[in-house]
């Protein structure tokens, strides 16, 4: 079975984000980038299939600026077989990204396309469903587990208070919410192997995409205001009195109750 995992390079979760000079984007200076966490889960799910059946092929693709190559190499170092980079230095709309990915899917012809359910930078969650739409493939969201079943694939998805098991015959697009195991980390032998792999590069034109799909514009980006100092009441035996003061402050000053 052939998997294609679509991933996005995002600021690492440990990065303390600052607003850029244009006040519409984050300051890119000094940022550590990594694979978006949901995409890492997607890679893990695909690699688990490969662990179970060595004939499985796991490819990865990203649409993004040149630095995204690092994220692809990280995926190769985790154990993926090959990677494709579609370069676009400009920030694209979700629809344009989906169109570019669809072109890669049509060429690579995977059985299953996995995406993270959303990217951790803009949290829009648009690319996966848009890609399924562009391909005309069925799509399943909130995936947590993927096993071969009688009629193709068993797709486990998380729902309120439990899970559902769907079955689908490939080809299918699935959006990953989580993997049972934490994603494996790139190993040193993995890094050495990844180093020897070529990562072919495509541009948008070769994917038949002319950017320009409608997209929302960021009007203003701002950090939440700094938290002021807390207020401490001394508990000197008069618990009821203190509780009254706290309740009053919560209602009249903080206006939260």
């Amino acid at each position: 079975m052939k998997f294609l995992v679509c991933l996005k390079q995002v600021p690492d979760s440990t990065v303390r984000v600052k607003v850029g000079g244009d006040r519409r984007s984050i300051a890119a200076e000094g940022i550590t980038w990594s694979i978006s966490p949901y995409d890492e889960y997607a890679i893990e799910l695909a690699l688990e299939r490969k662990d179970a059946d060595a004939s499985t092929v796991v490819s990865v693709v990203t649409v993004g600026p040149a630095r995204s190559r690092d994220a692809l190499r990280q995926a190769l170092a985790m154990g993926c077989d090959d990677a494709t980079l579609v370069t676009s230095e400009a920030d694209l709309s979700a629809l344009d990204v989906a169109k570019a990915l669809a072109a890669v899917v049509n060429e690579a012809k995977p059985d299953v396309v996995l995406c993270g359910k959303q990217a951790s930078d803009d949290d829009q969650g648009l690319v996966g469903p848009a890609l399924a739409e562009a391909l005309g493939w069925p799509h399943v969201g909130m995936l947590t587990k993927l096993v071969p079943g009688a009629s193709g694939l068993e797709l486990w998805r998380e729902v309120e208070g439990g899970h559902e098991v769907w079955s689908a015959a490939p080809p299918v697009v699935a959006l990953v919410h989580k993997s049972e195991k934490e994603p494996r980390y790139p190993s040193l032998p993995g890094i050495m192997k990844a180093k020897r792999k070529e990562i072919p590069e495509k541009d948008l034109a070769s994917c038949g995409v002319t950017p320009g799909a409608p997209r929302p514009e960021v009007a203003l980006m701002d950090l939440p205001p700094q938290r002021g100092q807390g207020k401490v009441w001394k508990l000197d035996g008069d618990a009821k009195g203190v509780a009254e003061q706290v309740a009053k402050a919560l209602r009249e000053e903080a206006k939260v109750v």
């Binding site: 440990t14 303390r16 550590t32 990594s34 190559r69 690092d70 190499r73 990280q74 170092a77 934490e182 980390y185 790139p186 190993s187 040193l188 032998p189 993995g190 890094i191 050495m192 990844a194 180093k195 002021g228 100092q229």
Partner: protein, 388 residues
Amino acid sequence: MDFGESAERRDIRMAVRRLCERFSAAYWRDLDAKGAYPDELVRALTDAGWLAALIPRRYGGAELGVGDAAAILEEINASGGNAAVAHAQMYTMGTLLRHGSDAQKERYLPALARGELRLQAFGVTEPDAGSETTRLRTAAVRRGDRYVVNGQKVFISRAQHSDLMLLLARTTPYDELADKTEGLSVFVVDLRAALAAGQIEIRPLPTMMNHHSTTIFMRDLEVPAADRIGDEGRGFRYILDSWNAERILIASESLGDGRWFTERAARYATERVVFGRPIGANQGVQFPIAQAHAQLQAARLLRDRAAWLFDRRERCGAEANMAKLLASQAAWAAANACLDTHGGYGFATEYDVERKFRETRLLLVAPISNNLVLAYVGQHVLGMPRSY
């Protein structure tokens, strides 16, 4: 001149960071409180191949350079952890690699690379021989195809968490030597077998930080002659050869600590409001952090240069020693700035500052005291009289 890092080096840093994220501050705090050894972390580092970074490919390692190994250890410390728990495997291996016979390498290196054997202990220091290594007294006397070893070692880290120990012992009495740097030999000791035979006793030696140090007593410890590395009497030379790598790696742990301290300090200084404004708005708080950061950057350049020379097989004694000196001092400056910035909270265990503070303090003294580093620079770099 190129100051950039290769894509591969960036990948290494990222991957080590990823692994370390799974071992949280709470994990380290708990180990520290219990004096426990991070078996899970060491297992994870081994499984992902990190501890085999310097082992040649033909023995199952990655055959990386010291510059890469430096990045690995630096990232572990920068993550809030302490690479000391596993670093010995990287630098003690150098002696085996460079001076071991093919048979010894075949026997040990693949098993080390696979994680079936641990070489985490390095037995040099004795109660009467610390900085002055050539004074050590533990005696190995040849009897047929084996040596019989008697003596005591002190401060030997991780002996209870290692299968093998590299041992430096005397094979010629001190008084019979014209050249005092001779007469010592290096052995690979099978600690498990020695313990089972009752020929060795390992006693924990609690220290200021969780370093798993021990005192080791050897009583008629039998070591096969086949486990001696290289020639008899040349052991001190062999150990000297591994020192440059050790200095570069220790410098890197210091740099990782320093990054952790300055990042923490800067963040806290920006967030903590006293007298109506962030404490970092005061120069008295801000400048020591900025100063430490600058010192760390300078030490980093020297470390990078030392590693670059080392990996080109050029002489790097001066650079490696000075990198260790400056990096450990810069980390200590950062540690103090960080502790001061945190006020009383810096002393509260849950902020992790006091733990890292204790850990980084060691690097000014061990594995080699900075006085001895200065003595090296004074004598061997600047040509002044020997001061020790």
